[in-house]
Amino acid sequence: MKCDKCYNAAIIHQKYSGMHLCKRHFEKDVERKVKGTIRKYKLIERGDIIAFALSGGKDSTVVLHIIHSLFKDLPGIQLIAISVDEGIYGYTEKTLETAKQVCKKLNIRHEIVSFEDQFGLTLDQMAILGERAPCTYCGVFRRVILNRTAKALGATKLATGHCLDDEAQTVLMNLLRGDMERLIRLMPAKKPGLVPRIKPLRNVPEKEVALYALLKELPVLFDACPYAHLSLRAEIRDMLNVFEVKHPSTKYSLMKSFDILIKSLKKEMEEVGLQRCEICGEPTMGNMCQACKLLKIIESRR
């Protein structure tokens, strides 16, 4: 097969677009999608200090690599990486090592913050003591650590490696749960106490993120988190991938529907204002944030 844009051999057939692309045009296509997302949602502005949630996996490494290559020569934009040490035996050591390599290669300041230092427990301990799925604790506590650290570093944006698959899974998961509050929160918004999150890979399928990382020879880890298969997200991910093979462009269509739906939803639903958690001071919708509620339950079972 030949590339549809030149005479080189194709390395990918994008069923959703019908295009065959060679290595060079595939890489350009990924970068074009990222630039398009940044422009469309005005994700990055002059003067931004962007903190990257860097796990050492393919998604966060690729987003950092692309943003670094696009903005490294522009004055007035500063990049920092934050890695969270969740404390998952046999897994976190490897992901953190990869994250360190990435930052060293790009010469980027790297902060590592652990669950144990911040909450007194590793995720492994939480998984044993708590009654919720480990992914619930991980999601909630990671969010708190990332926001807290980004704020302390003076960051104006918090960039994550969420790709098309992650976003489509979240949309479908919240629709199936009937959780419109969370659905609305997917859109970037400025809220007091929260560093605005940006997701430049929102339009790039997960498999293409992986292929980009391999072609660019980025130091990435493909190991899956040992807890990942226990989540509802894993079921939705598998279901969406089956649909995508049978009906190409399912994930894009889902996000397209979300983009239309969210405009009406925002008008329909009153956005809940944030206040400070009475225990830790982090922004929350009630008196106590989710992290403090979960911690209280875990502590009572110790």
Partner: protein, 68 residues
């Protein structure tokens, strides 16, 4: 005609599967019970588009998206 193909699943086992002459890599993956959205296929160290016809060679499958 049916061709018998040996594939190596990276960090996994070696398996044999059969594809009809002219069959593509997507059908090879489906024969193996692998979702094409979750892997990258190499033949002789080159990344293959999944609609390319399967040819004999050193075929490796790299799992890049968690599954199951």
């Amino acid at each position: 005609m049916i061709i018998k193909i040996k594939v190596t699943i990276v960090a996994g086992e070696e398996r044999y599967t059969e594809v009809p002459d002219g069959g593509d890599y997507e059908s090879l993956l489906i024969n193996l019970g692998i979702n094409p959205e979750t892997v990258i296929v190499y033949r002789d160290q080159q990344v293959m588009p999944l609609d390319e016809c399967v040819e004999l060679g050193d075929i490796k499958i790299l799992k890049v998206v968690p599954w199951g």
